[in-house]
């Protein structure tokens, strides 16, 4: 009788175990950039491992090489990644070249609704063609380019007084791009605590996407458009509009007047270093870094505050962030889809935000406590309401590299004028679209 009891218990336990875990335990590889949110995702994914029985491997590549490494992987049909958190601009290539699995049927079967996510993130990270209900990714990490500054310096009475005397207004978070430059000029070369400090650190990097991501912050704020009509590829008068020329001239002036010496090839890391080492009063960077900046023992906490990219003619921010996709070359697609199903759950999204990831789920963003949950949360919401992204065409890499070259030549190498740079950009982009059969 006793033996029969233990046998029955064993069978029951076995049945329960097999019932709760999936048919086959897999080792899934998730590929992303190597940065703070990636560490948060590793932490978050432990829960998935416990629940599913699958194990997670992570392939994180430093940002400067991320696009190169991952696009090569996709283009060669590599099986390194089962899941990829790829940049928003890759979605066109990912969809048209068959790198990403289309998720519509899966979403429908699992009851995952794109209405549960912030519309801007669904548009930017998931859909191709743009705005069409064809989903190739789940919004994973909302992000935009924002600003942070030395709040403790801004609050110093002697600096307040000097700024008031010079500009006739209090030293505070800039509310326009022009004000931002004034503040930057005010700090440039100033002695603070016996150290020479500088105005701003901005993106000037040449090799990957840096200077484009930085300069578009000014371009979008002036009202820059890629096309006269969306989808027309008609760029004359839009890309080189008087507003665009003015914005580009502004960014060049900001670079020349107010950045630290030798700041000719700077992106995320250099911007963070300049701020953390107490060199600059203000800096631009992606919201993804803001939790780490706030937690920094030397320049974080009470010493730092954040603001959204200031408008000039219109409120606008450069979009960052990524969606999570299932790679079509993976032979573990079922397990990868399980991960996406798990990740889309509201409670997982809430934990994601708590750990330092930027959830795009409405249940997190619309939570009454969200704005107060972090000092930069309100700015994040404001930024995401007005984000603009670069081209998301399959030829995005060519389009991006052309812009990198034109902008760096004008802004850093001081070659030609802003108008010539933008006219040249239209020529380059026209050639790319002609080669691609779009024009």
């Amino acid at each position: 009788m006793r033996n029969a009891f233990w046998l029955a218990a064993g069978v029951a336990a076995l049945a329960l175990t097999t019932g709760t875990s999936s048919a086959k335990s897999e080792e899934l590889t998730l590929c992303w950039a190597a940065w703070d949110p990636a560490n948060a995702l590793v932490e978050l994914s432990k829960e998935f491992e416990e629940q599913s029985g699958h194990t997670m491997r992570f392939e994180f590549v430093p940002w400067p090489n991320f696009a190169d490494r991952m696009l090569n992987e996709l283009n060669s049909g590599g099986q390194l990644c089962d899941l990829l958190i790829g940049d928003s601009q890759w979605i066109g290539g990912g969809a048209e070249n068959g790198h990403y699995v289309k998720l519509n049927d899966f979403f429908e079967a699992e009851g995952i609704s794109m209405d549960d996510f912030a519309p801007a993130t669904v548009y930017a990270y998931s859909t191709w063609p743009k705005g069409e209900p064809n989903y190739y990714a789940l919004p994973a990490m909302g992000d935009a380019n924002g600003w942070f500054y030395r709040k403790d310096w801004f609050e110093r009475p002697e600096l307040q007084e000097a700024f008031q005397a010079e500009y006739g207004r209090p030293l505070a978070e800039p509310t326009t791009q022009r004000e931002l430059m004034e503040v930057a000029k005010f700090f440039q070369g100033r002695e603070i605590d016996g150290q020479t400090v500088y105005g701003v650190s901005i993106f000037t990097e040449r090799g990957s996407e840096g200077i484009t991501m930085g300069a578009t912050g000014a371009l979008y704020a002036w009202g820059f458009k890629y096309e006269n009509e969306p989808g027309s590829y008609d760029m004359e008068g839009a890309v080189n509009s008087p507003e665009a020329i003015e914005a580009l001239e502004f960014y060049k002036e900001l670079y020349e007047c107010c950045t630290p010496p030798g700041y000719t090839n700077a992106y995320m890391e250099q911007s963070l270093d300049a701020f953390k080492s107490g060199q600059v009063a203000m800096a631009m960077n992606w919201f993804a870094f803001f939790p780490g900046l706030y937690a920094d023992p030397n320049t974080g906490g009470d010493k730092i505050d954040f603001f959204v990219n200031p408008p000039q003619n219109v409120p606008a921010s450069t979009l960052g962030g990524q969606g999570i996709s299932v790679v079509s070359y993976s032979d573990k697609q079922d397990a990868a889809l399980e991960y996406i199903k798990w990740f889309a759950q509201p409670d997982v999204q809430a934990k994601w935000w708590a750990l330092g990831g930027y959830s795009a789920h409405n249940s997190v963003l619309n939570d009454p406590g969200f704005v107060e949950s972090q000092p930069f949360a309100g700015d994040f919401l404001e930024a995401m309401a007005n984000v603009q992204d670069f081209w998301q065409e399959p030829t995005y890499a060519e389009l991006l590299l052309a812009m990198q070259e034109r902008l760096h030549n004008y802004i850093v190498a001081d070659q030609g004028t802003a108008e010539e740079a933008l006219n040249g950009l239209i020529e380059d982009w026209t050639e790319v679209f002609e080669d691609d059969g779009k024009l």
Binding site: D68, L71, N97, R206, P260, T264, N265, H408, V412
Partner: protein, 328 residues
């Protein structure tokens, strides 16, 4: 000795018996065939695997590249129909101002690195050849830079050139009074092309020095002794003995450095990434961007063919000149 001979003979006997047995079992027709192989045929059998590998990994890709250069193929768009575009890729490259800027940047880098490396390398070799006390130690110290990885060299020279904390800028300030943070070696349009020349010269001058040193040490002492007897001055000895006899070695060093620097990629990418703007974007950096970042495979194949023909043509002309110098 006798024992050894006996063992050898036994071994030989045993071997012969095995061969004989095998030969007896071999059908006459096969045996005839093997016996009928000429030395040339056997040589071909041995060489064939190497030739096959050479064809597979060198010649075939080269031919394939030439073929692709006449198409609009893109390696990242495999579903796209490939079109034959004739000479359009070549025409585009040769009429592209940007490409000519890259070629100019490459020529500037190539010419000045070779000039500096030859002058400094020869001077160092001449000094080291004097065999002073500690010359072996100095030789080791001098050749250290060429043993480092280009990535490492690029990284630490980036720090040396840093305007705020870099040693180079402070040295310039110390000697000239120009404020250290007022200029950026890697960020200035005027200075960046020279900054990369300086780093490559620092790294590869020891290589030229070693080749020159080999040349100097190959000159027999009796030639100088004869010149001394003829009362030739040191200056005349230098121009009529040293230089002509070292010249083939120097030319070889120039050939090696020329080919290497025409293909220069890693060091410059690490230092400037081709910037500021495109001022230091050498041909190979631009080619990599076209091929593996923009994925214009057909276009970049044409670009690679043009670079290959240029290097091959220049190197061939140079080797002929080198042979003439050696024959003198």
């Amino acid at each position: 000795m006798q024992v050894v001979q006996q063992i050898f003979e036994n071994g030989s006997f045993m071997t012969n018996s095995v061969i004989t047995a095998a030969a007896e079992k071999t059908p006459p027709s096969v045996a005839r065939k093997v016996r009928g192989l000429s030395d040339r045929a056997i040589a071909w059998i041995f060489v064939a695997p190497t030739i096959f590998l050479l064809l597979a990994i060198n010649i075939f890709p080269l031919i394939w590249t030439v073929r692709l250069s006449f198409t609009d193929y893109r390696a990242n768009r495999l579903n796209r129909e490939v079109e034959w575009v004739g000479l359009r890729n070549y025409e585009r490259i040769l009429t592209d101002d940007g490409i000519w800027m890259n070629m100019q940047a490459t020529a500037h880098f190539l010419v000045w690195t070779i000039v500096f490396q030859v002058l400094i390398g020869f001077a160092l070799a001449y000094l080291i050849n004097k065999k002073f006390k500690g010359s072996a130690l100095w030789t080791t110290i001098i050749v250290l830079p060429m043993m480092l990885s280009p990535a490492v060299v690029g990284n630490f020279w980036t720090f040396l050139y840093q305007p705020q904390i870099g040693l180079i800028n402070y040295m310039v300030e110390f000697f000239t009074g120009i404020p250290a943070s007022s200029f950026s070696m890697l960020g200035s349009v005027e200075l960046a092309p020279w900054a990369i020349v300086i780093v490559d010269t620092w790294m590869w001058t020891p290589f030229v020095m070693l080749i020159c040193l080999a040349g100097l040490r190959s000159i027999p002492d009796y030639i100088y002794e004869a010149a001394e007897i003829d009362r030739a001055s040191k200056w005349r000895q230098f121009w009529t003995i040293t230089i002509p006899m070292v010249l083939p070695f120097l030319m070889l060093a120039v050939l090696f450095r020329g080919i290497e620097n025409f293909k220069m990629f890693d060091l410059v990418v690490q230092l400037t990434g081709g910037g500021p703007g495109s001022i230091t974007e050498l041909a190979s950096i631009n080619l990599k961007r076209e091929a593996f970042e923009k994925w214009r495979t057909g276009y970049s194949s044409a670009y690679a063919v043009i670079l290959f023909v240029t290097i091959f043509g220049l190197a061939s002309i140079y080797v002929k000149a080198l042979n003439k110098v050696k024959a003198r």
